[in-house]
Amino acid sequence: MAVAFPTTIDDAVAALVAEPTALVLAGGTDALVAINAGLTEVSSVVALRNVTELRTWRHDRDQVVLGAGLTYTDLLGDELGELVPALAQAARTVGSPQIRNAGTIGGNLATASPAGDTLPVLAALDATIDLVGPDGHRSLLLSDFVLGPKRTALDPGELIVAARVPLVGGHQQYRKVGVRNAMVIALASVALVIDPARRTVACALGSVGPVPLRTPGAERWAADHIDWITSTLPGGLADARRFGALVADDARPIDDHRGTAAYRRHAVAVIAERCLRTALKPISS
């Protein structure tokens, strides 16, 4: 059978084991670009669209489990948008309505593009990626899953089934710089997650390195400078600016046809500063 339509995760894995070179087809928004350009040969396909379990999500007090088959449009839904607002913001910047209706979070993970819009959010949330393969389940932190540009820890026969993200009580947001107002690949992006309960700040960058980059130095600095009682930034706008500069120190951008390394580094500083500025009301500058 050239195209398998499994209906369960186990069947999907079995189909993949039977055809290790099969194309795993989720939304198709990356796969078809390569196929149409003649860059990918297709000999067999495991189509996931009937694996309904992948299209579900659930949450408890601590975390949200996002099925890998959720589309960007699903992530934009009212309820998920409230639970994980930065992910919804990121999803809304992806491509066009047509792309958001088809593309999935699992596909974004599997493609592992440095510009993948959900990846900085998942990185900032310390997301866990659940995989199922012939040898059973395993879970990896996002940072252990995305290994390089378009390179992941996914083994042959393995399937991404879910991304788990903690429910965070504080502010989170995503900003993305591109030279067009819609339908544009990120030149630079920033996800910021503030967890008042744990008194931590998490910041991750997109399109300025081979993988989504966390910014530990800037995060610690911000956590130390936030007044966690009042949820403010006593150092005001100057502190926000300092945070942006520290974030930029961790960027590893390159020059390419979409933009320069210098601009990308500059842009993450600016949008990181703005994220923090709007997350925490500065007292004064």
């Binding site: 900003r175 710089v177 046809h257 601009y263």
Partner: protein, 778 residues
């Protein structure tokens, strides 16, 4: 037309687009092809199908400069489903083609001069087989270092037997020594813009029983294509018949031959219909682009702002082959100073061959590049003189009776001051509010920008260019009109590319003949040439031809009615679909005036004679001129260098609006392309190789990028123009770009001497470092 089950009933014939519509000159008549287009029934060339059809594919050079050591097609021939593989040795006729001069090989055989140059073509039973076979052709290249710098190419070794200079033009006007007290100068760069029409190149070639070939193709100029194809396939022109297929936009990129010769050669070789459809990437590689340019200008003026002298050096990178570079140089040079009175000028215009992709026609044709420069200069001059930039422009504005840089006196209408004043008077948009959705700010959907990060700027620009071909070109258009029982059919080879000539042809026929039912036949080469759908010329040229043919038919009808009724023909007229005599003795509908009689007339229309430019670039070279002004309002995030164009207001000199909605459509569409060039559109090259030949990376404005457009039409009929109408397609794209950039400068103080403006140019430029050299020379 089509059955739902198989492809076999799909037709190689273009759509019958004649939906019932109405409307005369001056009304916003609906497009006759609008119905089929909204229903997806309009047959674009990529939709055509023929029995036993093969698919063609092109092998293109990945190198910008190379010697071809060998080409081995054996592996391609063994790919399943392949019917034919052609290389340069298979071209039976002329080995070279070209829009104006035949300088471009049908297939490169020894030298490759640009990345994307065709080497071979394949026909196979499936598009994927054809692509695979093309990829299986083994070409051994001796790769050379490409010459990609225009200045280096001017003085460098010839890249082609014809040499590297497509044109080196000087315009010397007035007193070369005259100088004003105030001087401003600057150097400006314009990136390579692509037409980026939505429907990629496509065509269907069908071998004919007489040994000839029929080609249905998307083009701007059927007859010029026909001549080039006939030469290359080695057939007399009458055996190469072209029909216009449904065209998915053009904007200049379909003036040159693309797949035409390849498809016809494959069809003639295989004896089967061959369809070729370019991918988007191949489309970027397979058509000419707008010339990138580096332009130096120096203006001097009296302290009151009166321009005294103008100097410019314009270098246009024409890429590997000539296309229309010769005339783009003329346009850039002739209109280099903008629509202003300039008594003394020295202009050097150069179009040069490089190993970059060939450049040619794009909407605005040379005027776009210089307008960006001259309008930046006008703003600098205003600042240097301490005069409001609008006042400076009004003070120097050209009008009828003035002379161009070429010495030509403006005999027609050119209401420059009027378009400026009318634009200024248009309402400004409301101020931005913190309550606005962040998506409406710079950065758009990325939500990068908070209300406090935005600065608003306003910029102004004016531009003009010629209408129709110039420099003594004997331009004409042929149209035929047939009238029987009140049904008129218009035939004309003018290419409908989306602009709406089909609508206009109907409106003209209805107006002249007083009938409602007008069919417009699909353009083909069985009638005489209508010239190119370019240079804002079809409304005038083919509109004029249709009008004359219809007038001739009207006269025939009235003559016959007069003879039958025994009344002098001078007493008859057509009014409200009736033939009437002044005394009321004749009153009959056009449809019933001559039952069963066929009236058919063909006419050729010419505009007035123009003349070549002399060695000083002086001469009566241009037929007519049109101008527009644009005021742009932008919101800029200076820190991120992101721009949201909020509003573009414009007043345009249209002569007379023959179809107001279509005019607005041209204005809005042209502004979209001008905004694109201002802030996002550039085909980037690395060693001559396009880096972003896709819609993922060559960005054109989306619905979220398009500003509000506020437009007003300045209607002052042009003497000598049919119905007083001027072509309206080009002015919207000329000065909208500099207006947007001026607005960004206003918001940021960044110098911005290059388009498209990149975020770096704003965000990483130290403010206020405008390096203009303003000096008091007295």
């Amino acid at each position: 037309m089509r059955s739902a089950s198989t492809g076999t009933t799909r037709s190689a014939a273009p759509t019958d687009t004649n939906q019932v519509t109405s409307g005369r000159i001056g009304e916003s008549a609906r497009r006759p092809d609008g119905g089929p287009k909204v229903r997806g029934e309009f047959a674009f060339t990529s939709d055509l199908w023929a029995d036993r059809m093969l698919w063609g594919s092109t092998l293109r050079s990945p190198h910008a400069a190379a010697r071809i050591v060998s080409v081995d097609i054996s592996a391609a021939l063994s790919v399943r489903g392949v019917a034919s593989v052609l290389t340069a040795t298979d071209v039976p006729g002329a080995p070279l083609y070209g829009l104006e001069v035949r300088d471009q090989p049908v297939f490169a055989s020894d030298v490759v001069r640009y990345c994307g140059e065709p080497i071979a073509a394949v026909a196979a039973d499936h598009p994927d087989s054809a692509r695979r076979a093309a990829a299986a052709i083994r070409v051994d290249y001796d790769v050379r270092t490409p010459v990609v710098d225009a200045e280096a190419a001017i003085v460098g070794a010839p890249l082609h037997p014809d040499g590297n200079l497509f044109r080196h033009l000087f315009i010397r006007h007035g007193d070369p020594a005259a100088r004003g007290a105030v001087s401003v100068e600057g150097t400006y760069d314009i990136g390579m813009q692509d037409q980026a029409f939505m429907g990629p190149e496509s065509g269907l070639a069908i071998p004919a029983e007489d040994g000839g070939v029929d080609l249905v193709v998307s083009t701007q100029w059927l007859h010029n294509d026909r001549d080039q194809v006939a030469e290359c396939v080695g057939l007399p022109p009458e055996k190469v018949r072209l029909t216009l297929g449904g065209v998915g936009g053009a904007f200049g990129a379909r003036e040159d031959v693309s797949l035409h010769v390849h498809a016809c050669l494959l069809a003639l070789r295989t004896g089967r219909p061959v369809k070729m459809v370019y991918s988007r990437q191949e489309s970027f590689l397979g058509h000419v682009h707008r010339h990138p340019a580096r332009i130096w200008m120096r203006h001097t003026a009296d302290p009151d702002g009166t321009i005294v002298s103008f100097e410019a050096r314009i270098v246009l990178d024409g890429g590997a082959y000539r296309s229309s570079s010769f005339h783009v140089v003329a346009n850039a040079s002739c209109f280099a100073a903008g629509p202003y009175r300039v008594p003394n000028a020295l202009i050097e215009g150069i179009g040069v061959r490089t190993n970059n992709p060939p450049c040619g026609a794009m909407r605005g044709f040379g005027a776009v590049q210089v307008c960006f420069a001259h309008e930046a200069q006008m703003d600098r001059l205003a600042r240097a003189c301490g005069i409001d930039p609008i006042e400076l422009r009004l003070h120097n504005a050209l009008s009828s009776g003035d002379r161009l840089l070429t010495g030509q006196r403006i005999d027609g209408v050119l209401p420059v001051a009027d378009v400026i004043r009318r634009t200024v008077a248009l309402p400004l948009p409301p101020v931005a509010s913190a309550a606005d959705d962040p998506m409406t700010r710079p950065g758009g959907a990325g939500r990068t920008t908070d209300a406090g990060d935005v600065r608003r700027g306003v910029g102004f620009a004016v531009g003009f260019k010629n209408l129709m071909y110039a420099e003594g070109y004997m331009d004409g258009s042929v149209a035929a009109c047939r009238l029987v029982d009140g049904l008129a059919t218009v035939r004309c080879a003018a290419a409908e590319v989306g602009q709406g000539f089909v609508t206009l042809a109907q409106q003209i026929a209805r107006t002249v003949l007083g009938v409602d039912d007008v069919l417009v036949a699909q353009p083909d080469t069985t009638i005489g040439s209508s010239g190119s759908t370019s240079a804002s010329r079809q409304t005038w040229m083919s509109g004029g031809a249709v009008e004359q043919a219809c007038l001739a038919v009207r006269d025939s009808l009235l003559t016959r009615v007069a003879a039958e009724r025994g009344v002098p023909v001078e007493l008859l007229r057509i009014q409200d679909a009736r033939v009437l005599s002044h005394d009321g003795g004749v009153d009959v509908t056009v449809a019933e005036a001559a039952p069963g009689v066929v009236f058919e007339e063909e006419r050729e229309f010419h505009h007035r004679v123009t003349h070549p430019l002399d060695t000083d670039g002086q001469g009566d070279a241009h037929v007519s001129l049109a101008c527009a002004a644009h005021r742009a309002v932008v919101d800029v995030d200076p820190e991120l260098g992101l721009v949201r164009v909020v509003q573009v207001a414009t007043a345009q000199d249209v002569g007379r609006a023959l179809n107001p909605v279509q005019v607005i459509g041209q204005i809005e569409g042209g502004i979209a392309q001008g905004v694109g060039l201002a802030v996002m559109e550039e085909l980037l090259l690395l060693d001559g190789r396009p880096r972003n030949p896709s819609f993922t990376d060559y960005l054109i404005p989306t619905a979220l990028d398009m500003p509000e457009v506020v437009a007003t039409l300045v209607e002052e009929p042009e003497p000598g123009a049919p119905f007083g109408a001027k072509g309206v397609g080009e002015p919207p794209v000329i000065s909208s770009t500099p207006a947007v950039v001026a607005a960004i400068r206003d918001a940021t103080s960044a110098p911005l001497t290059r388009v498209p403006v990149r975020p770096d140019d704003i965000a990483l430029s130290a403010n206020g470092t405008d390096d203009e050299r303003t000096m008091e020379t007295s």
